[in-house]
Structure formats: structure tokens, C-alpha cells
């Protein structure tokens, strides 16, 4: 039972109402100059991109098994049961491993601040936990961005593809990518044509590091026995050699 966002690129008219609503929700300035920026950054947590005559929207995917949450050494990032991936800036020490690890290159940094924080969309955790829609979904005039239960949105996406097979590329982005994401995409064309990364594994990324990390107790215990044993043997040998040498 987790929340998600369905973004239907075929319906998006590029009005950027979602951007304005998002900026308002975060208390960030939203000027024409900022509106013209087509990439997410520390002062713009969602951005509508133009790809020829199509639009695509970038925001945090709020992954089901987020790489950022697994790599954060201080646990500043958490995946909530509700769905959003939330960030605690008071814990963050600024190692930026979340940014390196994110397959969607979403987290942004306040590079020019003396006491910087990371910034990213948290799928309006506050609003959603009070039963409200995300600011972007509420603002969207054409229903290109929908907010609801992930299962229901997946069913809706499948319905749309089945109803108009000619108008959709026959896949939903975010179902399997890196173990599934909370943001789902529909598109008329293959996803790489609207700027989405398609070389992602279906395996959740945290597995890649956990496979090694879970060996740590074994390495420590086996290593202790092995090194301690080797020391005991070689040292004994040295002691014996020393004593025999003396006797001669």
C-alpha cells in the first residue's frame, strides 16, 4: 500500500504548473528565468523537459528500494512506508554518496552554501501523510500527473495502453527499473527519447553493495582465526628456533 505518481507524457502540455506548485510547496523562488531552466537543481526540484515536440517531467523517483537510502552513512535518507523517500538535513554530513549512487541523478546539492544540504523531491510526504495530493498532481490541469496508490496507478496505466495501443509505447517505465520506482511514466515513444535512462538493471541497486557488506562478519571472524593461527604457528617456530640456537 504505497503511494506513487503516474506521469503520462502523452497528455502533458508543458504548462509547468507542476513546477510552480512545487516551488511554492518548498518556499523556493519561481521566476521566468528559473522556469526556463530545464533541469532539476537545488532550487528546482521538478522540471519539465522538452524533447522535440514531447514533454517529460523530472522529479525524484522515490524508488521502492532506493540506492540513496542504502548508501547514506548516517541514515539521513529513509524510505517511508507511505512511499516517499524523505531526507533529514540535520543528520547529513555532506558526503554526497546519495548523489553518486542515484541512478537517476536526482539529488542536488546547495553547492554555494557554507552550510549546505542535499535537496530533492520527497513526493510531498507531509501533504500525503495528511491525505492530500502531491502539489504537482493537484496543480496539473490536464491529469498528466496523477497521485494515488501505486497498484491502482499501475492498473490505470495498463488500461490507458490497452485502450489506445497506437498512442502509447507498450511499456510502463518504473515497474521494474532498479526494483521499481514510485514514479511511473507513460510515453508515446521509447523512453530514451524522452530522456529517461534505459540501461538500468532490474535488480535493486542496494543488493550490489549488500552482497559484499553482508560478508563482513564472516571476513572478520574467519580472518581472526586464520591470522591468529598463523601468528601462533610462526611465533612458536621462532621461539623454538631461538631456544635451540641458545643450546648450541
Amino acid at each position: 500500500m504505497s503511494k506513487a505518481i503516474l506521469y503520462d507524457s502523452t497528455l502533458c502540455i508543458g504548462c509547468k504548473a507542476c513546477e510552480a506548485a512545487c516551488a511554492e510547496r518548498w518556499g523556493l523562488p519561481y521566476t521566468p528565468a528559473i522556469a526556463a531552466e530545464e533541469k532539476i537543481s537545488a532550487h528546482k526540484l521538478t522540471a519539465v523537459e522538452t524533447h522535440g515536440e514531447r514533454y517529460s517531467r523530472r522529479l525524484c523517483m522515490n524508488c521502492q528500494k532506493p540506492a540513496c537510502v542504502s548508501v547514506c552513512p548516517v541514515g539521513a535518507l529513509q524510505k517511508t512506508a507511505l512511499g516517499p523517500v524523505v531526507y533529514d538535513g540535520d543528520k547529513c554530513m555532506g558526503c554526497r554518496y546519495c548523489m553518486q549512487a542515484c541512478p537517476f541523478q536526482v539529488p542536488s546539492y546547495e553547492w554555494n552554501s557554507r552550510l549546505p544540504k542535499m535537496r530533492k523531491c520527497d513526493m510531498c510526504f507531509e501533504r500525503q501523510s495528511h491525505g492530500k495530493q502531491t502539489a504537482c498532481a493537484e496543480a496539473c490541469p490536464v491529469g498528466a500527473t496523477l497521485n494515488g496508490e501505486r497498484d491502482e496507478l499501475l492498473a490505470e496505466a495498463r488500461r490507458r495502453i490497452a485502450a489506445k495501443p497506437g498512442e502509447y509505447y507498450d511499456r510502463i517505465y518504473g515497474v521494474h527499473e532498479v526494483g521499481g520506482t514510485s514514479v511511473l511514466y507513460l510515453s508515446a515513444v521509447p523512453f530514451e527519447q524522452i530522456g529517461l535512462r534505459v540501461n538500468l538493471p532490474n535488480e535493486p541497486l542496494p543488493e550490489t553493495t549488500w552482497r559484499v557488506l553482508e560478508l563482513v562478519p564472516d571476513v572478520v571472524s574467519t580472518g581472526s582465526v586464520l591470522l591468529g593461527g598463523i601468528w601462533w604457528i610462526t611465533n612458536r617456530r621462532a621461539e623454538v628456533a631461538k631456544k635451540e640456537g641458545r643450546r648450541k
Binding site: 558526503c95 546539492y109 557554507r114
Partner: protein, 386 residues
């Protein structure tokens, strides 16, 4: 022979220039943030300070645990004369890594957070703990040199009592975090170029760190013998050259097997910057490996030194490739460090050399503890040479 008389002035001038630029870069870092002092960006969040100051710094300090294991666990007594310089290098190395981290972290005042706010699923968390604990171990391994210097025998005995478990702990911690620096990049299969991305990254980092540690020991032995007019421990270094050749062979062989089994060898036919950087990195390891198998090369101090330097550069090239260049294409951006990033890095390296030199002059680093009585005679000429 070019640096005979003007040696001190030239090197002091270079040192002063580097430190001055580093100071100005530090000012930029503090008052203008990472944005004002680095070329990092949202798409490229890690640069020189992580790839060199941290990843190379920790690796070049690997001589500490390698020699502790050889001398105290495998009980190969003959390596004892280079054990203390290796421990000192390692201790200094880790201190400087922390200094580098203070520059790189957005909030250096929160350096201690991972010790309190745990996330065992994070490789970085594991590295933070290992580096903290291992720095403590290195400090304790370094302490006997201080105690001996001042003739404090009681604490010296205490340290000797815990030395075996301490050294085993040190080797284990090093094994964990040397490999974990490679594991850091397991999370970016879609970004790191496949010549470098492999599930075997932790093993590759571990083995190459051992090679770098040995090369660093040869390197500093050679330099300190020149700087302090000390006799070079040549037979010892020759035998170490042998070990280095074997470690390099093992390393290059597993690199090859890994590429073979991942069907990645075909990538070498692509005319891309990554191919050339990979070739450079491998050549800097393969050439000294071949050379070190020749007795005639090993027995010539200059050639042995040259081989060690090549290995060090090969190691640095590898870490920079994994930490920066190998990530550029996958991140869809380019990164060239800003001058201030280079200035800070050079300052840290220069400070490392200067502190090493100073410590070696004041503490009994270059002598086995059993020869404590000979210390007085050795110490005199060292002080004169200052």
C-alpha cells in the same frame, strides 16, 4: 645530480608556493563553499578530493598493514627495518585522509555523525568505522616510537602486551576498508565504464592496495636514505621487489580474468578515452612487473626505485579512473578539477612529506627497537643534516 647545492632552496620555494596556494584554496573552500572551490556539480558530485586524497591516500598507506602482517604475523623478521617507516607512513596517510575529507565533506563539523547515526547497509558507514578504528590502531602502533624516544618503559610494556591482538585487528580492519573503497562503486553499474565496473571491485582494490603499499615502502626507503645519508636496506628492498612482482602478476592476472569472464575484452578495440586511460593504468603496472622479474633490475637501486614509482602512478591512475574519469561518460558530463582542488591536494601531499621528514628526525623510526643502544650514534648525524 641536478639538486646538489640549491636543493634546499628550490624545494623550500616549491613547498612554500604549494602551501600558499593551498591556503588560498582553503579560504575559498570555507567562505565560498564547494561551489566556489571545486568544479563539482549535481551530475558529478565526487572529484579529486575523494578520488585522490581519500582513495589514493588510504591505498598508499597500505604498506602499514602489509608489513605488520609480514613481520609480526608471518614472522618474517628480515622486513623489520622498514616496518616502522611503513607504520609512520600509514598513520600520517590516514591523518591526511581525514584532512582531505574535511575539505570534501559539505559539513566537516559533522565528521563524527557516522559513529553515532548508524546505517550498516552503507559501505561508507563501514569505511568510516574502519578508518576511525584503524587510525586508532595505527596511533597505538606508532606510540612505541614516542615511548622509546623518551625512555618511558612502563607504557612501552603495556603496549607490547596488547600488540598481537592489536596488529591482527589492524590487518582485519585494513582488509575490510581497503576493499570497501572499491565496494563504494558497486552501486553505480550504470555509470562506471565497464572496463572498471566489476562485482570484483573490492578484491581488485585490496590486491592493488597491497602492491601500492609495498611500492610506497620502497619509495620512501630510497628517499629517506638519500635525505638522511642512511645506508639503503638494499637486500631487503630487493626481496621486497620480488614480492611486489608477484603481487602485481596476481593483480594483473585477476584483472584479465575478470575482463575475460565479463566478455569485456572487446571494449579494448573501441577508440575511446577510457580505452587509453585503461591502457595507461595497466602499462604502469605491467612494465614494472616485467622489469622486477629481472635480477639485474632489482639489484640496481635506481631501477628498483623507478619500478616502485611506476607502480605508484599505476595505482593512482587506477583510483582516478574509478573515482573520476571512468564515471564521466556514464554521468553525461565532464570533470576537470578546479585549480583550488589541485592546490589543496598538492598541499596535503607536501605536508605529508614535510611531517614525515620531521617525525623521522625526532623519533626512532629507522631502526629496530632491539638496537636502541645504537640510537645515540645514529641520531647525531641526522640532526646535523637538518
Amino acid at each position: 645530480m641536478k639538486r646538489k647545492f640549491p636543493k634546499i632552496t628550490i624545494w623550500s620555494a616549491i613547498f612554500a608556493a604549494i602551501m600558499a596556494s593551498g591556503l588560498y584554496a582553503t579560504y575559498l573552500r570555507i567562505f565560498y563553499g564547494l561551489g566556489g572551490s571545486t568544479n563539482l556539480s549535481d551530475k558529478f558530485p565526487w572529484g579529486l578530493w575523494i578520488a585522490f586524497d581519500v582513495m589514493c591516500g588510504v591505498g598508499l598507506a597500505a604498506g602499514g598493514f602489509t608489513l605488520v602482517a609480514m613481520v609480526h604475523i608471518f614472522n618474517i623478521e628480515s622486513y623489520k627495518p622498514v616496518l616502522r617507516p611503513a607504520i609512520l607512513t600509514a598513520f600520517l596517510g590516514y591523518v591526511l585522509v581525514v584532512v582531505g575529507l574535511m575539505f570534501d565533506l559539505g559539513r566537516p563539523d559533522r565528521l563524527w555523525h557516522p559513529l553515532v547515526m548508524w546505517n550498516p547497509h552503507s559501505v561508507m558507514f563501514e569505511v568510516a568505522w574502519c578508518v576511525t578504528l584503524y587510525s586508532t590502531v595505527l596511533f597505538l602502533e606508532f606510540l612505541p616510537m614516542v615511548f622509546e624516544k623518551f625512555g618511558w618503559n612502563r607504557p612501552l610494556e603495556w603496549i607490547h602486551k596488547i600488540s598481537v591482538p592489536l596488529m591482527i585487528l589492524g590487518v582485519l580492519l585494513s582488509t575490510l576498508h581497503q576493499s570497501s573503497l572499491g565496494s563504494l562503486f558497486l552501486i553505480v553499474p550504470e555509470k562506471l565504464y565497464p572496463l572498471w565496473y566489476t562485482p570484483m571491485l573490492p578484491l581488485m582494490f585490496y590486491v592493488s592496495a597491497i602492491a601500492a603499499g609495498l611500492a610506497m615502502t620502497i619509495f620512501e626507503s630510497w628517499h629517506s636514505s638519500r635525505a638522511f645519508g642512511r645506508a639503503l636496506e638494499l637486500p631487503l628492498l630487493v626481496s621486497m621487489g620480488r614480492v611486489l612482482a608477484v603481487v602485481l602478476s596476481f593483480y594483473l592476472w585477476i584483472r584479465f580474468l575478470d575482463l575475460l569472464h565479463r566478455n569485456a575484452l572487446g571494449l579494448l578495440t573501441h577508440n575511446r578515452i577510457e580505452t587509453w586511460l585503461f591502457a595507461l593504468e595497466i602499462a604502469l603496472m605491467a612494465v614494472p612487473m616485467v622489469l622486477l622479474y629481472q635480477a639485474a633490475i632489482r639489484l640496481r637501486p635506481g631501477a628498483l626505485y623507478a619500478c616502485a614509482v611506476m607502480v605508484l602512478f599505476g595505482f593512482i591512475a587506477n583510483r582516478l579512473n574509478v573515482g573520476t574519469t571512468g564515471l564521466e561518460a556514464g554521468s553525461g558530463t565532464h570533470y576537470i578539477p578546479k585549480w583550488s582542488e589541485v592546490a589543496v591536494t598538492l598541499s596535503i601531499v607536501a605536508a605529508g612529506f614535510a611531517i614525515f621528514r620531521a617525525v623521522v628526525q625526532y623519533f626512532p623510526v629507522f631502526e629496530a627497537p632491539s638496537h636502541a643502544k645504537a640510537r645515540a650514534e645514529v641520531e647525531e648525524p641526522e640532526v646535523v643534516l637538518m
